[in-house]
């Protein structure tokens, strides 16, 4: 409304570089030191934008509460968090998929109770419910591959991009659950009260994505 600046929540880590590249291609002149900065808030007054750098899992939270107007979040995080936000655009970056994996020796009939380790407890339980299987979930925060190896759980649910990590740890993929890419998300109030800026951003990003698709 009066403050026409957009606050953009960006995920640190894996998705960050690709998202920055996409924004630059869409004509947003982000400062060159953007990637190296350790700051959590970066102002880009020329573009009328402010960037906050958050943990990927937290981006939808910032956007839902309206402290960020828009953000870039992985579909995995969105399914897990179930926030009340607009999922406006598939940015088609950081493509990967969710998968169930286990040791090659895994035998479903030998389980006392089916235990699954994951960073995504909600997504996991929803998926298995839809498959008609009731499972027990153990939430971990990282290095999920460890769980079947040392016997914490028989199966794991995690993100797979190349399959390299699974392979190196001697795990095999049992099933592919769903493809994952990053999405452009918008706070419902901002989407209406700052629609001019946000629609423009969406259009510019959509053009870049369409051009990229056309080349491939």
């Amino acid at each position: 409304m009066s403050n026409e600046n957009l606050t953009v929540a960006m995920p640190k880590g894996r998705i960050f570089d690709e998202a920055v590249e996409l924004l630059r291609k869409a004509g947003y002149s982000l400062p060159p030191e953007f990637e190296e900065s350790r700051k959590l808030i970066i102002e880009v007054p020329e573009a009328g934008m402010r960037f906050i750098l958050a943990k990927p899992m937290d981006v939808p939270t910032y956007v839902e509460h309206g402290v960020a107007d828009v953000g870039v979040a992985g579909k995995d995080v969105m399914i897990e968090e179930k926030r009340d936000i607009y999922e406006v655009l598939d940015l088609k970056i950081s493509a990967c998929y969710m998968a169930v994996a286990s040791l090659p020796s895994y035998n479903p009939n030998s389980e006392v109770a089916p235990k699954i380790a994951s960073k995504y407890p909600n997504l996991t339980s929803e998926y298995f419910r839809e498959q008609g299987e009731q499972v027990e979930i153990i939430k971990l925060n990282g290095s999920i591959e460890l769980a079947p190896i040392i016997g914490l759980a028989d199966r794991i649910v995690d993100i797979v991009s190349t399959g390299q990590t699974l392979k190196e740890n001697g795990l095999v993929e049992l099933e592919t659950m769903m493809p994952i890419t990053s999405r452009f998300i918008v706070n419902p109030v901002s989407y209406r009260t700052k629609s001019a800026e946000i629609d423009e951003m969406v259009d510019r990003l959509a053009d870049v994505i369409a051009a990229k698709e056309g080349r491939e």
């Binding site: 409304m1 009066s2 403050n3 839902e64 509460h65 309206g66 402290v67 009340d84 936000i85 607009y86 999922e87 406006v88 655009l89 598939d90 999405r183 706070n187 419902p188 109030v189 901002s190 209406r192 009260t193 629609s195 629609d199």
Partner: protein, 396 residues
């Protein structure tokens, strides 16, 4: 579970301390007085209702209802909104009252245990229901009353997004042919998942024109001019009728000089099945959540065996107070009279006089307070009646 500490409250429950209470009260009084100036009559309903009737009729999701059992084994709910109880009354006790019925309420409503901060489980709602009038004029009245209430409460900048669920349904049915498919797309809109919506469109064997119509729907957001864009997308009488209603609504709001606050958004789907016509949401500067919402719900009263059109709005006092709290000055207390036992009478007379002038006066006997300086610092004015001489009070 670990032992509860004495300061803890159930998840999502909040205290309102004096300073905030005062602000909340101001907001509430402002809205209530505006609403009663428009001729809406206040009504109260019980906090507990039956799950099977009011619980089932409400727009709140089942898992968000607080449920309990009564001694007969019936499931009860803490009322999740005021619209369903009022529909119950309109369909029963007040079914003989003259129509249209204009009712207003101000009451706490409940949402079962939210998982995180910023989402209270109990909050106050002030709103109106206009029952028995199906005209666009009724919708316009409710929207303009919501705007007037927001202005009266002191909300400097706000916006109202208006949509029409009848239009969305008609367009989806026209393009997709059946209700089952239309429902799937409506769910994407409800879940605000435009990516899923587009992917689903691509999957269907539709003509490129029909695909374009569905994609265009996602862009129907802006000023009144988008109604003509919308008009080009539809053919059915139902959809045209919905657009006509919106056009009427806008021209009525224009005549109230309120149309500059409006955003038309034909993607606004706030609930899967509750609303039947015009829907709207109110936003206030600097707050990431809507401060209020409403719309036409012509089928709700059917759940109470009584067919009647109805429309209304509800404003969330907690969010409005939060939005306004950022703008308002903290309130300082008025006057304190500190007196000694011997001069109580003088002090009481002075207090009476000040109170008649409308000033809040705290009377505090000197021996009852430990640190007089710290205590009196919170007041704008302090008058002392201490000692034994009778020469009036000394001001700070």
């Amino acid at each position: 579970m670990s032992k509860l500490f004495m300061f803890e409250k159930p998840l999502g429950m909040r205290d309102t301390l004096p300073e905030l209470y005062q602000l909340k009260r101001q907001v509430k009084d402002a809205i209530s007085s505006e609403v009663s100036l428009w001729g809406y009559e206040p009504i109260e309903t019980p906090t507990l209702e039956f799950y099977e009737t009011v619980g089932a009729a409400s727009a709140t999701l089942d898992q968000q209802l607080f449920k309990l059992l009564d001694q007969q084994g019936n499931t009860l709910v803490l009322r999740p909104d005021m619209t369903a109880p009022i529909a119950r009354i309109a369909a029963s006790t007040l079914n003989q009252a003259d129509r249209p019925l204009r009712l207003t309420y101000d009451a706490p409503v409940f949402r079962a245990q939210q998982r995180e901060g910023g989402k209270p489980a109990e909050f106050e709602q002030v709103g109106v229901e206009l029952i028995g009038d199906q005209s666009s004029s009724a919708d316009a009245e409710v929207i303009s009353l919501m705007m007037a209430s927001l202005e009266r409460a002191g909300t400097a900048s706000y916006r109202i997004a208006v949509g029409h669920i009848g239009f969305v349904n008609a367009l989806l049915r026209e393009v997709l042919g059946n209700d089952e498919r239309a429902g799937r797309f409506r769910r994407y809109l409800y879940e605000k998942n435009y990516v899923g919506f587009r992917q689903e469109v691509e999957k269907l064997p539709l003509s490129s024109i029909d695909k374009r119509r569905l994609f265009q729907l996602l862009r129907l957001k802006g000023g009144p001019e988008i109604l003509s864009q919308a008009d080009e997308l539809v053919e059915s009488a139902e959809a045209k009728e919905a657009l006509q209603q919106l056009n009427n609504l806008i021209s009525i709001l224009e005549s109230y000089d309120l149309s500059d606050k409006l955003i038309i958004d034909l993607n606004l789907v706030m609930h899967m099945s509750y609303y039947t016509g015009t829907v709207f949401e109110a936003y206030s500067e600097g707050l990431g959540y809507p401060v209020g919402s409403g719309g036409r719900y012509d089928q709700l009263l059917d759940q109470f065996d009584h067919h009647e059109p109805a429309t209304g709005f509800g404003l969330r006092l907690d969010r409005l107070t939060e939005a306004l709290g950022k703008e308002k000055e903290p309130v300082t207390k008025d006057t304190c009279l500190i007196f000694s036992h011997d001069r109580r009478k003088e002090a009481m007379q002075k207090a009476k006089q000040l109170r008649q002038d409308g000033q809040a006066v705290v009377m505090q006997e000197l021996t009852g307070v430990k640190d007089v300086d710290a205590y009196s610092a919170q007041f704008q004015d302090v008058i002392y009646y201490i000692g034994t001489n009778g020469n009036g009070g000394a001001s700070k």
